[in-house]
Symmetry: D2
Subunit: 159 residues, 4 copies
């Protein structure tokens, strides 16, 4: 069983014309997994719908508690990219699970989104990596303790 | 360095109206990797453009030789799904590399293709799995020796 | 009221992996009209699902009769491109309606399909053109009597 | 010859992650017309890249002057939907051309955008309608003098 927790972020953004703005919408994870015929047992839980710049300590604690309470040892967390490393560090004390965080630079609703590729990549990582916490972005697996988001290059790099 | 070898299959099919048929086209791998901002060093080599039902023993030997000759120890092979297991078995004697085979049930040119998800998934597998040969389809990693394609269910299963 | 009759053709083709072939599926018209928030009253009737090279005289007569029996004076017919002109000529004796035929060179299921553009184009034509029969393809309105499909150029031209 | 003038608006919005905002980008018109194999002679001129709520009287005058100076009598203007009616009224004194304004409720970069459908629809309208100024949205042709945008319903209606 893979427990998937969604928290918001760019990956979940949808376009609302009424306000001409981009809002966090419902997670696209169920659709992505269905479209790609993913049979491996999994559960999707939407914890929150927040831009990661707006996550509070309480929010990160809530994510931590949900992950720690899971009976699965394979965890995928979708998350905004801006503070993904921060949340990963909060999860670091959970040592009996493989926890992978991913997100997207472009919303899943965009034609050229990286959402599907990243979710596929991260789903493999949850099943193949040993216990620990990881960032999976740009086709690479990163150790949160030594990585950061390079905004201008639209990718994560080793700090 | 990840060496990516493309061989054809549904993942590479494009629609030609002139003949009202679906033909194998150039591999979409470079576009997929670029669109998803994959920075990890990689090389894409198009070995052939064949439906996997049309691969001959010579073709599979050519794939084997290209993989064996690679100086990389992370190999991704995109391949038609119909005889993916067969090619994987031919590669089984290469024991000093992580070799992952993937493809797609729906061409990359389709709006709801599984191509991007599968390539993302397989790219993670090449970087995280120990040496050996694997099938990566439907969000799961399979041992070629114990798997087969279930045509009606549009997925791979443990035989 | 715009009466829309669908008959098959490339616009309706969907990809079946089980047979590795492209089959005519249900018409994408309802989805296209919903996605594009088309409010003008309309009705969609699927008459048949045939490649236009396989339409018989009886089929074309059936299309003719359905159009003639419609109480609407604005008719859109989606049709395979190979014999679209032929069907248009069969409809030529219906003089009290604006009848527009369109289709697609690439199935609606393809990422870069011309289906949506062509349906939008044709829907405007049904509402603005005087009574008569027209082909609407490649961003142009053609008189069936003086047009033909140029297969190699993937478009319709004045003969 | 159809003269196409682009001014910005939602149809041209692209997603910049660096600022997590949606910005007006280059017009997608050339790509849309190429993808849909539009052969009818046309020219695309990007006049500005502005959200239509930010257009000034000088901007609307600039649009007016570009249209009036065109040697074509078929004009398509892509425009933000919020003040499309306002610009249409400014163009009303140009009586020797067919001028059609369209835009999109969802950016062209979105998977389910109405951009392609609307551009196809409007392109037909420029070729079939008599001289005058029109709004083409939601699969309908509107007289600017008697129409307005219904924000909540995401469409244009007769006022």
């Amino acid at each position: 069983m893979i427990d998937i927790f969604t928290t918001g972020g760019t990956i979940d953004k949808i376009y609302f014309d009424a306000l001409s703005e981009y809002h966090i919408g419902p997670t696209p994870l169920p659709d992505i997994l269905a479209e790609n015929n993913v049979y491996v047992p999994h559960r999707v839980t939407q914890l929150m719908r927040k831009d990661s710049l707006e996550l509070t300590d309480d929010d990160r604690q809530a994510i931590h508690d949900a992950v720690a309470a899971s009976d699965a040892d394979k965890i995928l967390v979708t998350h905004g990219t801006d503070t993904m490393v921060q949340t990963a560090m909060v999860l670091a004390d959970i040592t009996d699970k493989t926890i992978v965080l991913t997100g997207a630079m472009q919303p899943a609703t965009l034609r050229n989104s990286d959402a599907e590729f990243n979710v596929g990549f991260a789903l493999a990582a949850t099943q193949t990596l040993p216990h620990g916490v990881y960032i999976a972005m740009n086709g690479e697996v990163f150790d949160p303790a030594t990585t950061k988001k390079d905004r201008d290059a639209h990718r994560f790099i080793r700090a």
